[in-house]
């Protein structure tokens, strides 16, 4: 076997082992407290990977992704309530709707925010997050305001309660990773990395920087919104300061920086180290 083929085989083998171990966590570990940690670890793997598509590949550090996380949770809760979806497995089928609604929000916000660069962009994303939080607080008729929004409570026993959410979060982490991997090796991904290095130069060689950045922003936000939706259903009750929490946005940024900004596996590593800790 040639050297590159051997390296690829080793990588695939390692990936398979990690996937099997991840899949078996709730089987071998039945303590709800431990599975709860696993749920949040898988959640942050997905969040950090999704954030990295924007922040890592383009170099645009958004500290406002908590807005998409919370918006996804609220959108999901409202969709479930308006459609009268009962608790159980069925709500998971509606998670993509929360993602789609988050994408619409991200298009609006990104279209404006991405006209700025560097520190200004960071500040605009923070401001945007607090605006969304304020809206969640003040649109009482829609969101319940400070009283919060309740989700249908799944009819599962305490021992089993975390398991479906663990697999849902794991699936979202896998989807985020697959999308991140695909983008990294695409022409689009190369354009994002060029923007990260020198945006004006990228423009000069034909990279449609605004479109690329907006696309990355929207993909990133959509994934975060879907994860937020699952989170809302998991905790069964959200209110503005809890769902749109600046600490969530800061945590996932820290994880990406710790593990390796702009790399595929860095966000995974950062989340696995920081979240259980």
């Amino acid at each position: 076997m040639s050297s590159p083929a051997r390296v690829r085989a080793v990588k695939l083998g390692a990936l398979l082992i990690v996937a099997v171990v991840a899949l078996l966590v709730p089987v071998f570990e039945t303590d709800p407290a431990t599975v709860n940690v696993a749920v949040f670890t898988a959640m942050y793997v997905g969040l950090a990977t999704a954030w990295n598509i924007m922040g890592g590949y383009t170099g645009y550090v958004s500290l406002g992704h908590a807005a998409f996380f919370g918006f996804g949770a609220y959108a999901f809760g409202l969709v479930l309530a308006h459609l009268g979806i009962q608790a159980g497995y069925e709500p998971f089928l509606f998670v993509p709707i929360a993602g789609a609604l988050t994408v619409v929000l991200a298009l609006l916000i990104g279209w404006i925010a991405l006209r700025t660069r560097a520190a200004t962009f960071v500040i605009v994303t923070i401001a945007m997050m607090f605006m969304i939080q304020l809206l969640a607080e003040n649109l009482v008729g829609l969101t319940g305001g400070g009283s919060g929004l309740s989700f249908p409570v799944p009819p599962w026993s305490g021992d089993f309660f975390d398991t479906p959410f663990y697999y849902a979060m794991l699936l979202m982490a896998a989807i985020s990773l697959a999308i991140s991997w695909w983008i990294r090796r695409s022409k689009f991904g190369l354009g994002l990395l060029a923007i990260r290095d020198d945006e004006d130069k990228a423009l000069a060689v034909g990279v449609p920087a605004h479109t690329y950045k907006l696309t990355a922003f929207v993909i990133s936000a959509g994934l975060v919104g879907m994860i937020g939706a699952i989170y809302g259903y998991y905790v069964t009750y959200i209110y503005p300061q809890y769902a749109i929490d600046p600490l969530v946005g800061i945590s996932l940024v820290l994880m990406v920086f710790l593990g390796g900004l702009g790399t595929l596996w860095g966000p995974v590593l950062g989340a696995v180290i920081l979240e259980p800790a």
Partner: protein, 243 residues
């Protein structure tokens, strides 16, 4: 046939007039020099042509069509490439990846297609070889010497097969041997049909390379003509070359 026409272009930054009614015309297949003292507006003219800054008045036409108001990436897509005064490459991408960024693939195809196609890679390697830097293909741009960066920048801008390339001081900051090589590369690309507009302070380089020279002074065209005509123009000698 006129490839690029700049018509009465003006640009003010606050109270400073950077470009003042500049007009020039570039012929297809030509190498034209744009010279002038520091601060005469040469780079601003480049930035106006390539859409990096918006003009106050005037028009730029490429192949008869107005390109005024278009963004830099759209202008590059139409066939106008440019380099920068200080060689700008992507430092955290390899030299080969630097070559592949300018390859044009738009829309959904860009999102879903792989970043490195074999035919594009082959062409990139050919271009690097033509510039004598194929041995650095796998190195990060940031690790290259300044001369290698200059050559890489020129090679990369050619990847989308532009018809016109604006070179901002291609001989600036490089040793005399490399200046000669860069000149040879420009002539070779010109023989292949690429037109050039270049800003340069190295007068022997400009005079030896260009068929036509435009002299800018305080943002306006002071003179234009062949190198011999420019050399003998008293106004140019007074304003720029010195008597």
């Amino acid at each position: 046939m006129s490839l690029l026409e700049v018509d009465a272009l003006s640009k003010h930054f606050g109270g400073v007039t950077a470009v003042d009614g500049c007009s020039l015309s570039l012929q297809l297949g030509s190498i034209t020099g744009l010279i002038g003292p520091n601060g005469s507006g040469k780079t601003t003219v480049f930035n106006l042509i390539t859409g990096f800054i918006a003009r106050d008045t005037g028009d730029v036409r490429f192949k008869g069509e107005s390109i005024t108001g278009l963004g830099p990436n759209r202008i590059y897509g139409l066939g106008i490439g440019r380099t920068f005064q200080l060689a700008r490459i992507f430092p955290r991408l390899t030299a080969l990846e630097n070559m592949l960024v300018p390859v044009r693939r738009s829309g959904v195809r860009a999102l879903f297609s792989r970043g490195q196609w074999h035919d594009e890679k082959d062409r990139a390697m050919e271009m690097l070889a033509a510039m004598d830097i194929s041995h650095v293909a796998g190195l990060l741009g940031g690790s290259l010497s300044y001369g290698q960066r200059k050559l890489l920048e020129l090679a990369a801008v050619m990847m989308a097969r532009p018809q016109l390339v604006l070179l901002d001081e291609p001989a600036g900051g490089v040793n005399p041997a490399l200046v000669e090589r860069i000149g040879e590369h420009i002539l070779e690309l010109n023989r292949q049909g690429v037109s050039f507009l270049l800003v340069e302070h190295n007068m022997p380089f400009v005079m030896g390379l260009c068929q036509q020279i435009v002299v800018l002074h305080r943002g306006a065209v002071l003179a234009e003509g062949t190198p011999a005509e420019i050399r003998g123009n008293p106004a140019v000698l007074d304003a720029y070359l010195g008597s």
